[in-house]
C-alpha cells in the first residue's frame, strides 16, 4: 500500500494516529512494516502490502 494511503488510518481501539515503521518497500509502496499507535503503543503489522488493523483480540496468530 502507498504511504499516502496510510494517512487516514488510525488505531481501531482508541482512534489515535499511527506511526509508520518501514521494514521493506519498493519504488511504489510499503510491503512490510509496522503501524504503531501513538497513544496506546499497540503494534499493527503490514504484510505483503496489506496492513492488519484488526483489534488485537481478533487477530489470529496464524495469519497475522
Amino acid at each position: 500500500m502507498k504511504e499516502t494511503l496510510l494517512d487516514i488510518l488510525c488505531c481501531p481501539l482508541d482512534k489515535a494516529e499511527l506511526e509508520l515503521e518501514v521494514i521493506r518497500e519498493d519504488d511504489e509502496e510499503i510491503l512490510e512494516g509496522r503501524l504503531i499507535c501513538t497513544e496506546c503503543g499497540e503494534e499493527y503489522p503490514i504484510e505483503d502490502g496489506i496492513p492488519n488493523l484488526l483489534p488485537p483480540d481478533m487477530r489470529d496468530e496464524a495469519t497475522a
Binding site: 500500500m1 496510510l6 488510525c10 481501531p12 496489506i50 492488519n52 488493523l53 481478533m58
Partner: protein, 227 residues
C-alpha cells in the same frame, strides 16, 4: 477469527470472483446512484474481490479508495486483481474501523453488512468516519422481506443479522445517520429458465425465482452523516 476462517476458504475456492459476477447485476446500479465526485475518498466494507472500488475509480474518478475486509485471502486476491496506486486494502473489523473521524466521503457495502457482530456499533463507526453529508450505501440480499434468503444462515457459521427494510431505517437513525432513501434494486440479469425447467435443484417454482430476482432483488438503504 470467525470471518477469516469462513471467508478465506471462499476466497481460496474462487467464490470471490463468483460473488463479484453475481453481485454486479445489482451493485452496478447501486454504485451509479452514489454521489461520488472526482477526488472523493471511498471506503468499501467487506470488499471481497475489490470490484466496487475499481469501478468507482474508473467511472467516477474517485480519489483514495480503501477496501476493508476481515479475511486475509480475500484481501490478497483483491490486491492481485488491482493495478491502481489509489486503492489500498486493509484488514480490519466492521465494529472497530481503523479510519480517522471525518476522513471518508462515502461508504459502500455490498452483501457484507449483516455479518457485523454488532451492526449498530458498525453503523456508529460508519457515522464517525464519514464527513458531514457523506453517504453510506448499504446493499444486502439477505433481509427479512427476502424470504428466499432465510435459509442461507444454515450454510454459514457466522450469525447473520436479518433486518426488515423498516428495521434498517430505524437502525440507521438509532446510530445517528439520516435516512435519505431505500429501495429494492431488481436483478434483471440472472437468467430464469423456462417454466418447464422447474422444479430446479434450487427453486421449487419459477414464480419464486422471479420474485427473488426481479422483484425483491437487493435492498438498498442510503444513510447520510449529519453535520
Amino acid at each position: 477469527m470467525n470471518v477469516a476462517t469462513e471467508f478465506d476458504s471462499w476466497a481460496a475456492e474462487g467464490r470471490d470472483r463468483g460473488m463479484e459476477e453475481r453481485h454486479w447485476h445489482t451493485a452496478k446500479h447501486v454504485l451509479a446512484r452514489m454521489p461520488v465526485e472526482a477526488g472523493e475518498t471511498v471506503l468499501d466494507l467487506g470488499t471481497g474481490s475489490g470490484y466496487a472500488l475499481r469501478a468507482l475509480r474508473e467511472t467516477r474518478s474517485a480519489g483514495q479508495c480503501y477496501g476493508l475486509d476481515g479475511a486475509p485471502e480475500m484481501l490478497r486476491n483483491a490486491r492481485d486483481y488491482t493495478d491502481d496506486d489509489a486503492i489500498g486494502f486493509v484488514r480490519g473489523d466492521f465494529d472497530a474501523l481503523p479510519f480517522a473521524t471525518d476522513s471518508v466521503d462515502h461508504v459502500f457495502s455490498m452483501e457484507a453488512f449483516y455479518y457485523a457482530q454488532n451492526p449498530i456499533q458498525t453503523l456508529r463507526e460508519i457515522r464517525r468516519v464519514l464527513r458531514p453529508g457523506g453517504t453510506f450505501y448499504c446493499a444486502v440480499n439477505y433481509y427479512e422481506e427476502n424470504v428466499h434468503s432465510h435459509v442461507w444462515q444454515e450454510n454459514i457459521s457466522i450469525e447473520m443479522t436479518r433486518w426488515s427494510a423498516p428495521e434498517y431505517r430505524d437502525a440507521f437513525r438509532e446510530a445517528g445517520l439520516f435516512v435519505a432513501g431505500q429501495e429494492n434494486v431488481p436483478d434483471t440479469e440472472t437468467e430464469i429458465p423456462d417454466e418447464s425447467a422447474f422444479p430446479t435443484e434450487e427453486w421449487e417454482a419459477r414464480a419464486a425465482m422471479v420474485e427473488r430476482y426481479r422483484e425483491l432483488g437487493t435492498l438498498l438503504t442510503v444513510g447520510v452523516a449529519p453535520s
